[in-house]
Amino acid sequence: MLEVKHLRFRYPGQEAAWEFHFSVLPGQCIAIRGASGSGKTTLLNLIAGFLQQESGTIQLSGRPLEQLEPWQRPITSVFQEHNLFEHLDVATNIGLGLHPGLKLTQDQRHLIDEGLLRSGLPGFGSPMPGDLSGGQRQRVALVRAILRRKPLLLLDEPMTGLDPEVKHNMRALLLEEKARGVTLVLASHDEEDRKILADHHWNL
C-alpha cells in the first residue's frame, strides 16, 4: 500500500505550501485531478524523490521512502515526454532500466525484444528515439517501465496527445500491470484515461 501522509512542499518564494495526503491499495490506480499548476507533477516528483519535501512521509508497504535517493526507491515514472535519452538507441534506453550499467543477461535481452513486440514495436531495438513518432517513443518508455517490475508506477500525462490506437494499446498494458498488483498514480487531463484506469480520484 502506498501511503502519502501530510507531505508538504513549496517552491522557493511560494507562500502557502502544498500538502498531499492520500493512500492507494496495491493493484489499484488513483487518479490525481486538478487544474494545471495545481501541483500534480510536483506530487509525482516528490514521490519519485526528484524534489525534497519540507515534511511528511511516503510509505510503500510500510517502508519509508522519503529519505531515499531516487535510484533507491522502487518506483518507475513515465513522463509526458523526455522519457528517453535522445542519443542512445531504443534497446539501450530500455536496457538501462534493467541494469544501470547495461550488463544484461541473454534473458533480459530477450525480454526487451518481447516487450517491444507486445507493445506493437517489433524489431524496434536499434533506431534512435529521434527517428520515432511521439506515440512510439511513449510506448518504448512504457516497455521500460513495465520491464523494471517495480511495485509503483507514476504516470504523468503519459498518453496526452497520442492517437486513439496507441492509447488503447498503452491502456491495455497498464491494466495488465494493475492486475499483477502494481500500484498506479496517474496524473491525466484525459477523462477517458481516468475512467478506464482509475479506481479512485483525488482532487488537488
Binding site: N45, W71, P74, H82, N83, H87, G101
Partner: protein
C-alpha cells in the same frame, strides 16, 4: 533491497567532487608559489629605478598603444564582416568562410606569422606587387605595421564570430518587424544590430586587448627592435639574456596587474562565446538593402577571405618545395622529425591532461555546494587566463632556476603549464555538450540508478566522445603551437617545432621556415582529422537530431 546507498561503481558524490577540488587547490598552490617567488624577487629590485627607466616606460607605453590600435582595427574589420555574414545567411561558401574564421583559434601564431611574412614581407607577394606599381614606397612589415597586421589577422575572425553569434541570436520576430518596416542603414543598426551588440562590446574589446597585450610570438618575430617591444618580450629578454631577474619580476607584476584587471572586466561582462561550431541554419529574414549592397558585401567578404587565406597559401606554396627536397646537403627531415618528437612529447600529455582536468573540474563544479567549495574548481577555469603563461612561467622559472638541471624537467614544466593554459578553452568546449543532458534526462537516469561510472560510461560517453575528441585536438594544438613558455624553459639546441621555425625565421632561412610551417600545419590537420574520425560514433548510432533551433510558436 539495496544495502548500499550508492550501488554503482564510483557513484559516491565524492568521486565527482574531490578530484576537481584537489586539482583546483593544486593549481592555486602552483600559482601562489609562482607569484610568490616573483614578488620576492621583485621586492629586491629598486622599483623606482625600474619605473623611472626611459626604456621601460617606452615598453609599457608601446605595449598599451599597439594593443589599443589593434583593438580598433580589429573592430573596424570585424564589424562589417559580422554584419554582412548575419545579413546573408545562405550563400555558397558561407560555411567554408566560417570554418576559415575558426582556423585562427588553432593556427600556431608562429606559423601564421611566417605566412604573413611570405605575403607582406620583404620578398612577399603583396610587397612584390607594390614594388611593381609603386616603386619607391616605404612599406616595411617589421615594427608596428607587422604587429597590427598579425593582430588583425588573428583577432578579427574571432571578434567577427562572436559578433555574428550575437547578431544571429536576435529574435526573429524583431527581424521580421524591421524587415516589414523596410528599415535599413542607420535605423536597422539602431533597432536591431546595436541592441544585440552593445552588451558584448566592452567584454569583446577587453578580450581582444588582452590577447594583443600578451601576444609574445608576434612581437618576437615582427617587432624588429627595441622601438617595438612589449612587456612580455622585455620579460623574456631580462630573464634569458640580461639575467636581470628583479627587473623581469617587476615587469611581470605590471603585466599581471593590467591583464588581471582586464580579464576581471571580461568576466564581469560574462562574455560567453562558444568555441564549438554550433551553427544553426536559421531562415534568414531579409532586411531591405541599399542599391549595390550586394556587390559591396561580396567584395568585402572576398577581400576578407583573401586576407585570411593568403598567408596559408604562402606557407603551402613555399613550404612544399622545401619539404619535397630529399637531396642536397641537408635534408630538412632530420631536424624536423626530432623537433616533431619533442613537440609531441610536450603537447600530447598537455592535451590529455587538459581534457581530464577539464572533466574533473566540470564534475566538481556541478557537485560543489557552498561558496568556498564552488570557488575552488571554478577558479581552475579562469585562473590560467588571468595569470598569463609567461608570467606564471617567469615565477616558476625564478623559483626553480637553480634546480632545473636537465631538459626533461624543463619539458615537464612546459607541458604542465601548456596543459594549464589550455584548460579554460577545453572547459569552454566541453561545458556546453555536458549541459546538453537536460533535467528530465538526469531525473530518468537517477531513477534508473544510472549513476557514477555507469552514468559516465553509458550516458555521457556516447554524448561526449565527439566534443571530447575536439577538445583534445584543441588542447594538443594549443600546446603544439606554444612559443612563449618553451622559449623560457627550452634550450635552443633542442628546439620544438615552433622554436625551430623561429630560429629559421631569425636566420632568414625562409624556405626552410616555410617548410617547417607547412609541416606544423599538416601535423595539425592530421591531429584534427584523426581525432574527428575517432570521435565519430559508430554508423548505426548516428542519430538524427530533431533540429529546431528557433522553436516556432504553435500558431505561426
Amino acid at each position: 533491497m539495496l544495502a548500499n546507498r550508492y550501488s554503482a561503481p564510483l557513484s559516491h558524490p565524492g568521486w565527482q567532487l574531490v578530484p576537481g577540488l584537489l586539482l583546483g587547490l593544486g593549481l592555486l598552490i602552483l600559482v601562489a608559489f609562482g607569484l610568490g617567488s616573483m614578488l620576492v624577487t621583485a621586492g629586491s629590485a629598486d622599483v623606482a629605478s625600474v619605473v623611472n627607466s626611459r626604456y621601460l616606460r617606452g615598453v609599457i607605453w608601446f605595449t598599451v598603444w599597439q594593443a589599443l590600435l589593434s583593438v580598433l582595427l580589429t573592430l573596424l574589420v570585424a564589424l562589417p564582416v559580422a554584419r554582412t555574414l548575419a545579413r546573408y545567411r545562405q550563400f555558397p561558401g558561407r560555411s567554408l568562410m566560417l570554418r576559415l574564421m575558426e582556423l585562427s583559434l588553432v593556427l600556431p601564431t608562429i606559423v601564421a606569422v611566417s605566412g604573413i611574412i611570405g605575403v607582406y614581407g620583404r620578398q612577399g607577394w603583396v610587397t612584390a606587387l607594390l614594388n611593381n606599381w609603386l616603386p619607391g614606397h616605404s612599406w616595411s612589415l617589421y615594427g608596428l605595421n607587422g604587429i597590427l597586421l598579425a593582430h588583425v589577422f588573428f583577432n578579427a575572425p574571432l571578434a567577427a564570430r562572436i559578433m555574428l553569434q550575437a547578431l544571429e541570436s536576435v529574435p526573429s520576430p524583431r527581424l521580421r518587424i524591421a524587415s516589414q518596416l523596410g528599415l535599413r542603414g542607420w535605423w536597422a543598426w539602431r533597432s536591431v544590430e546595436w541592441p544585440a551588440l552593445r552588451p558584448l562590446l566592452p567584454g569583446l574589446c577587453a578580450l581582444v586587448f588582452t590577447l594583443c597585450f600578451t601576444s609574445f610570438a608576434i612581437i618576437m618575430t615582427l617587432g624588429g627592435g627595441p622601438a617595438a617591444t612589449t612587456l612580455e618580450v622585455a620579460i623574456y629578454q631580462a630573464l634569458r639574456f640580461e639575467f636581470d631577474f628583479p627587473q623581469a619580476a617587476v615587469l611581470a607584476v605590471i603585466q599581471l596587474v593590467i591583464c588581471g584587471g582586464l580579464w576581471w572586466l571580461v568576466f564581469r561582462q560574462r562574455l560567453e562565446y562558444s568555441l564549438m561550431p554550433n551553427r544553426h541554419f536559421v531562415q534568414g529574414v531579409q532586411l531591405k538593402a541599399w542599391p549595390g549592397q550586394l556587390w559591396f558585401s561580396t567584395l568585402l567578404l572576398a577581400a576578407f577571405a583573401l586576407f585570411l587565406v593568403l598567408p596559408i597559401l604562402a606557407i603551402a606554396s613555399r613550404g612544399l618545395p622545401s619539404l619535397l627536397t630529399f637531396t642536397g646537403h641537408s635534408s630538412p627531415y632530420e631536424q624536423l622529425l626530432s623537433a616533431t618528437g619533442r613537440s609531441l612529447l610536450i603537447a600530447l600529455p598537455a592535451g590529455l591532461g587538459a581534457v581530464s582536468g577539464a572533466l574533473l573540474t566540470l564534475a566538481s563544479v556541478s557537485k560543489a555546494r557552498g561558496r568556498l567549495l564552488t570557488a575552488i574548481p571554478t577558479s581552475t577555469s579562469y585562473l590560467p587566463l588571468i595569470v598569463p603563461p609567461l608570467v606564471l612561467g617567469t615565477g616558476l622559472f625564478l623559483l626553480l632556476r637553480p634546480g632545473l638541471g636537465n631538459n626533461a624537467q624543463g619539458w615537464t614544466l612546459v607541458s604542465l603549464i601548456n596543459g594549464l593554459m589550455a584548460l579554460p578553452f577545453v572547459i569552454q568546449v566541453l561545458r556546453g555538450p555536458l549541459a546538453r543532458l537536460d533535467t528530465h534526462s538526469r531525473r530518468v537516469a537517477d531513477q534508473l540508478g544510472v549513476i557514477g561510472w555507469y552514468r559516465w560510461h553509458r550516458v555521457y560517453w556516447p554524448l561526449m566522445r565527439r566534443p571530447l575528441a575536439l577538445a583534445l585536438a584543441y588542447g594538443i594544438a594549443l600546446s603544439m603551437g606554444d612559443f612563449g613558455v618553451i622559449a623560457l624553459f627550452g634550450s635552443p639546441g633542442q628546439p620544438t617545432l615552433p622554436v625551430l621555425l623561429y630560429q629559421q625565421l631569425g636566420s632568414y632561412r625562409m624556405s626552410d621556415a616555410a617548410g617547417t610551417g607547412l609541416w606544423l600545419l599538416l601535423l595539425m590537420v592530421v591531429i584534427f582529422g584523426l581525432l574527428s574520425v575517432i570521435g565519430r560514433p559508430p554508423a548505426h548510432h548516428r542519430y538524427k537530431t530533431v533540429r529546431q533551433p528557433f522553436p516556432e510558436p504553435e500558431h505561426a
